[in-house]
Symmetry: D2
């Protein structure tokens, strides 16, 4: 058993199967882990279930919140919890000095508390190493939906990926590898050059209207209204739309419905289609982030 | 509208969505098509629903039965039919002279009738052009099951394909393309050389016991008992087994159950996961077979 | 014949086969093209060979210099020219007002002249759409060298790509597609996540010493001394090093030589291994750049 | 050191770098190896250079001749030999009883001697495990030639593979993986179904005339005159033809020359482009063949 986190007090509040894998790793690395929101039976031996958020957070050097984070009222997503778990200002105020708080993305109030109580807030959902690793189950989950919802094969299908960010690159490669005829719709010629290198057809957004006429499956990854009413009316009635952008997606679902198009909003796929994989990512990345942060702070202390 | 089948009398008995696509193609090519087992509303304009198998078969030059064929009692698989459809000796005896009967695979009685009534029986399920084209939806359907039944991604998984025939080759390539670490288990060194060329690891059947210890997903394609009790007891408890071999498959499902392994028999995937694709295959291949056969017979007549 | 560049005066000075393809495209688009450095017989009908750089530049609205640009003394790379071609301050001063000067990358004196004579300088070698498109022949050229210089196949080889920029991404994908076992050595975890998604092994630069021990072929793409004496001494004597970084590359060639390693510096591959492809890229991108720039300037004029 | 071949007397006559690797492996496995045609300095320690074919063969239980075999006069290909090496009837007659003679492919006289002197003749060049493994360097060598001889990239090129045997399948996959737009020309619909599954376009031989008009690179793998004068006259003048079929290939080279087409006959690529790889194949396969044969004979003896 490694012990690089030996003695570090870590609180984990809520989450799902992914956090169970993370907790298990943290325990293995020697951390003292207090957990809220998981039944005792499910957790790794060595982690301590505690009764309240406040108890878990008290003097914790690291606080870990799930990727989907909290809602506006502080309620933490916790699929195994019997009752609502809520992050309170009181809990945050009792963290150890210079504590590290890790969350997918933070609401404004949490950012304010970070200032007020001088803890370090690390929003990880947009970090490349998380986002790219998670793009793999996202792409596979999107393919799974496409398989379930169409009467054709991916091989030989005509598909279109709108946007060319981290998820889109992974998805385009996967579709291509599976034998689909893929068109990438992107913003600039540099992105399209990369799409071409990957074997895809390429189109600018200005050509989206033409593209949508000729594809069996359209995957959107852009988090703003790109598949709007004007575009959707040109879609073939058999076209399936799968929207992977953050809620509320980039599709006018009402218009899609009017035009008789099947359109599916599919957020949060990694936790749904591959929770064990997604948990392993957390278990790989989060300890590294903690260690890096602790190293950085120690240096600061040493050289202060 | 092409008319290469103009005037040819064809009977289609039963089937599913695939036959609807085939019927539509036959009508387009000018054939006179009598159909049993589909509601009028579903069928292509131009095809004639008739009331009985006997009526459809009378003087028919071509008789088309579905890929899954008939059972021992002559009952034809017909998912849209309201009542049982049964192939009778009487119907077969009334076909036109030298009629062509196309079926997935034929039971013995049908072979006997072919002799007795001098019709030509074409069993197509083992023809390369059908079997290889159908290996694509079979492989994708197998992947879909794997995605649905495992909490990990195909990318980065360890998978194993047992056998190296038409379905296995397609499946191995697809798994590899999706980023799985694939081991092919095959009978001879020539097959293993091909698996190696495709980027797979290779094992002989004698090594299956070792292989099964180290894989997340095992796909069987061999239609005889290869994943037996002796082998299965070495499987990791998280291993998922997907058996694609013709019923009853090549897995000892009882033993799998005893050892707590999830094992799924998945026959007939093309018609289930990609009926439109599978229908297009029939619509492409069957007219070609009919034309080839008719050309061959005409030649025989000419040169007789 | 399109005529979007109708009437535009363009000077092309020097270059190689690539510029011949570009000139031909410019003529097709209606431009008036004056050329220095190509024999009349080689050039597209419609382009005008002129005798001096000064004559070509006089009143030219666009000046195109080759991707490798000029040397410190102004000498322009011109493989077909019989005598040296030199870019003079006088020539630059006689360009049309607000002329557009397109070059791979510019020396300081040219930047100074751009200021002094108010022309627009467009350095294109680092533009994504040029660099990514050129990464394809660069990667293929690197593979060709590897094939020529090793007694093994790429399939089954162990290869390593140092760096993960535009060339490296293309090269890693190509090696992987050809069946090599590829390790990417990169600077950050985000890049390594992408490498992993592409099916590659991943290492940080701090692990380069270990990596170099176990690879048959090492491709460097980083333009600073990364394969230095300390690293190279751990290389297997059969290792082949191919350095694709801008001259002088990122390899200590002297040390490589001492350790008996074959190390090859291979700059400028696109023009060497695939001049027609590389010419087509210029013929696709440069007219677009000219049109964009002219559109932008006209707008500025209109709204001035 | 393994010793499964301990005490087995093996003669190796001629060959090239590949046989050096094989000899080294045989020595490692404990065989007593007598060699003709290699300088002492090049050979593995433990192998014995002898002065004549007759001496090497006397009482040898296994005789290994190179893949290219002998010519009609018995001369053995031996690139390192200072003088001609010739297989004589006398040498063959002095082999141990039931000796195993391994050769690429045998001339008639050798088959006759096998009968006369009761040795077992194993022609291996057409064995799947040799031919498929060798298809990898053949395909890579063909790609290398294409890279060297065309001014375009493989990526984005239009290529055509004529035939769909062991080399063609490997080559089609490699071209496709590198981003070429590949058409497979084959004899039957089953082969074309496989080509389609691999992502290739498909054509029957009857369409070859059309296919040849539209491809940049044509690879022939069929060992009979398929690219004849009638076909070649339709080729685009820039088309490159690479013929991989056994000499004299399947191209009318004279006609190609007349039509100004570049056509290259490229036999024996594995030994040329990847001798170490090809040697490893021999070193893996030949000992296995020897052991299998010895096991089989022992059984026969035991049960005789």
């Amino acid at each position: 058993m490694s012990s690089v986190l030996s003695g570090t007090k870590i609180a984990v509040l809520g989450g799902d199967e992914r956090e169970l894998i993370l907790i298990s790793e943290l325990v293995k690395m020697g951390a003292t882990v207090a957990v809220v929101g998981f039944p005792k039976g499910k957790m790794a031996h060595g982690a301590s279930p505690v009764n309240s958020v406040e108890e878990a957070c008290k003097e914790a050097e690291v606080l870990i919140l799930p990727l989907p984070g909290t809602n506006q009222e502080g309620v933490i997503r916790a699929v195994y919890a019997e009752e609502e778990i809520r992050l309170s200002e009181k809990a945050c105020s009792s963290l150890a000095p210079n504590a590290l708080v890790i969350i997918g993305s933070a609401r404004q109030y949490l950012k304010d508390w970070a200032q007020k109580y001088a803890f370090i807030l690390l929003e990880i959902i947009e970090m490349d190493e998380i986002a790219i690793m998670n793009s793999i189950p996202t792409a596979e989950g999107a393919i799974q939906i496409a398989m379930e919802e169409t009467p054709i094969t991916i091989h030989g299908s005509k598909s279109c990926v709108v946007g060319f960010g981290r998820v889109a690159i992974t998805l385009a490669r996967l579709l291509k590898a599976m034998g689909s005829d893929v068109t990438v719709v992107a913003r600039n010629e540099g992105q399209l050059a990369r799409a071409y290198e990957m074997g895809c057809r390429k189109s600018l957004f200005s050509e989206l209207l033409e593209v949508i006429k000729h594809n069996d499956i359209v995957f959107n990854t852009v988090p703003s209204m790109v598949l709007d009413r004007k575009i959707l009316r040109y879609a073939n009635p058999d076209t399936l739309i799968i929207d992977l952008a953050t809620q509320p997606g980039g599709t006018d679902f009402e218009a899609a419905n009017e035009y008789g198009l099947k359109a599916i909003l599919a957020p949060g796929l990694p936790g749904k289609v591959a929770p064990v994989y997604a948990g392993r990512i957390l278990a790989e990345v989060i300890p590294r982030l903690i260690i890096n942060e602790m190293t950085r702070m120690n240096k600061n202390i040493l050289f202060a």
